[in-house]
């Protein structure tokens, strides 16, 4: 027994989550290309398999068999640490995200790998590791574009981490806990998106910056920096960065679902809505948010760098503080 589970249950869960996340990330690239194509009145990938559904597999094979070209004067150790961290840190955060609780034969099955009473803190800590992957990758390659991309990513992630954390504090105040299962439990009556709409908007705009996606994709800004921090990466090392970005999308969407959209809870707490199992509700909400992220990416142009920093420090952060103030006051007055 480890914690509340048998060790082999944990092992199976871990394997399923890792394989599932990578598969989902691979198919997100497909979905992204399809969404982009339809927005631009194109068809998108449709040659490999029915509706192009095997395209991610073909891409993976291509990436694995490509030459591992790398700059000669790189920092050999850190050059490898960067992409490993990008893939690893992203997957790690998913360990504590709860997707439901089931009671089977007097055995309480939690749809997560680990259950911490400070799960939210763990997620914030682990997702911050992602910065290191970008910065180390950008720095170790010894190329000017990579370095600029890496610097941008660290500056951007530091400023947005603050705003994002402040946005989350409102929900923590309401739920009175850092335990993700308890936070979901506190949303039985009303989802926190109703009580904390400002926090949700703040968190999700910060999430775009954290995942380095348009309109905040400055670390890899193609038009300015070639490919930013992963300019000098090729083959599967680049693939890991790519994977990391898409897993990160899943992570931020899952956090938003857990904290604001009631996690695995059904839309309304009565029949027929609660016939659909919790994990499916969770998945559905995550998919909606993922689609929204893609939709936004193919709608808005990239922000200029100074405006991005302005937006982070002068808009998101004060609004986050305001939200904490209001939430705290209301909770204190009602107590």
């Amino acid at each position: 027994m480890i914690g509340q589970d048998y060790w082999w249950v944990l092992l199976i869960k871990a394997v399923v989550v890792v394989l599932g996340l990578t598969t989902i990330a691979a198919y997100l690239t497909y979905a992204e290309r399809k969404v982009a194509a339809r927005i631009q009145l194109r068809l998108g990938p449709n040659r490999v398999g029915p509706f192009g559904l095997l395209q991610p597999a073909a891409d993976a094979v291509k990436l694995l068999f490509k030459e591992n070209a790398a700059p000669a004067n790189r920092d050999r150790l850190l050059y490898l640490v960067g992409p490993s961290l990008a893939g690893g840190a992203a997957v790690l955060a998913f360990a504590v995200i709860p997707m439901g609780i089931n009671n089977w034969f007097n055995y309480q099955f939690h749809w997560d790998i680990a259950h911490f009473n400070v799960g939210l803190l763990f997620i914030l800590g682990v997702t911050s590791l992602g910065v290191y992957s970008l910065f180390l990758g950008g720095w170790s390659a010894n190329s000017k574009y990579s370095l600029l991309g890496g610097l941008r990513s660290s500056a951007q992630l530091i400023s947005y981490e603050m705003a994002v954390s402040f946005a989350l504090i409102g929900t923590i105040i309401l739920a009175g806990s850092l335990d993700l299962e308890q936070i979901v439990g506190a949303q039985q009556q009303t989802w926190f998106i109703v009580l904390q709409p400002l926090a949700f908007v703040l968190y999700f705009s910060g999430a775009f910056a954290e995942t380095n996606r348009a309109p905040f994709d400055l670390p890899e800004a193609e038009t300015e920096l070639v490919a930013g921090y992963h300019t000098e990466y090729g083959s599967m090392r680049f693939g890991l960065y790519f994977l990391g970005e898409y897993v990160n999308m899943v992570i931020v969407s899952s956090i938003a679902t857990t904290l604001f959209l009631g996690g695995w809870l059904p839309l309304f707490p009565f029949h027929p809505f609660d016939w659909i199992p919790g994990p499916l509700w969770f998945l559905g909400k995550v998919v909606v948010l993922l689609f929204f992220m893609m939709w936004v990416r193919w709608t808005f142009p990239r922000l200029r760098y100074d405006r991005l920093m302005n937006f982070g420090w002068k808009v998101l952060l004060p609004l986050g503080l305001l939200n904490i103030l209001i939430t705290g006051t209301v909770v204190a007055l009602r107590a």
């Binding site: 339809r38 068809l43 939709w295 709608t299």
Partner: protein
């Protein structure tokens, strides 16, 4: 600011609901304009006789000299064309052709025009020299009624473009070049994409005759 963001999002989502404009090229092809100048077509009269009378004016008008015509006398009992002569061979080197349409202008009988076909890439170089069999308008009704009009033109009705009549090999340039340098061999690993010798294109002897 919020209003503009919402407007942008609304625009993209409405675009998503529209039908994609993509033409799936090899499977779907858009029709070309009526005056498109693509691969040439040799026409027939309504009764099935070939329009071409083998006058070689097209070959004379051609600025790049890509047309080769070998004329032959018509058999009066079983004529191929209404004139005295007809084209026994009619070959166009599509690699050299500039699709200017001067041949069509020069033709006194409107036998040759430039047609709509534009996908002319081939795997073998000699296939880009199209023979009369490929150029001639097919005429199934005529072929059934009267039998083959000439040993050359007969191929037009049965020969698909993918397999041009093997009996008629194009006379122009590359045949000779290839025999000089030997038959093309499959590339060995290591020499992919690095041509060791480039065959020189020589003028066909038939041009001097004129």
């Amino acid at each position: 600011m919020i209003k503009e963001l919402v407007l942008g999002l609304r625009f993209t989502i409405t675009q998503m609901l529209r039908k994609p404009l993509t033409v799936q090229y090899p499977e779907e092809q858009k029709p070309v304009f009526p005056r498109h100048r693509g691969r040439h077509i040799l026409h027939r009269y309504d009764n099935g006789l070939e329009r071409c009378i083998g006058c070689e004016l097209c070959a004379a008008a051609c600025p790049v000299g890509c047309i080769y015509v070998l004329a032959a006398e018509n058999d009066p009992k079983n004529p191929v064309s209404p004139g005295e002569r007809y084209a026994e061979r009619y070959e166009i080197n599509l690699m050299r052709c500039i699709y200017c349409g001067y041949c069509a202008e020069a033709c006194p009988t409107e036998a040759i025009t430039l047609g709509p076909q534009y996908d002319l890439a081939e795997y073998r170089r000699e296939r880009t020299v199209v023979t009369k069999a490929e150029l001639l308008e097919s005429w199934p009704r005529f072929a059934q009624a009267r039998g083959p009009a000439s040993p050359v033109g007969a191929g037009a009705d049965s020969t698909a473009r993918a397999d041009p009549d093997p009996g008629i090999s194009p006379r122009v340039a590359w045949d000779a070049a290839e025999t000089v340098h030997g038959a093309p061999e499959a590339p060995q690993p290591g020499d992919l994409g690095v041509p060791t010798h480039v065959p020189t294109v020589t003028e066909p002897e038939s041009r001097d005759r004129r």
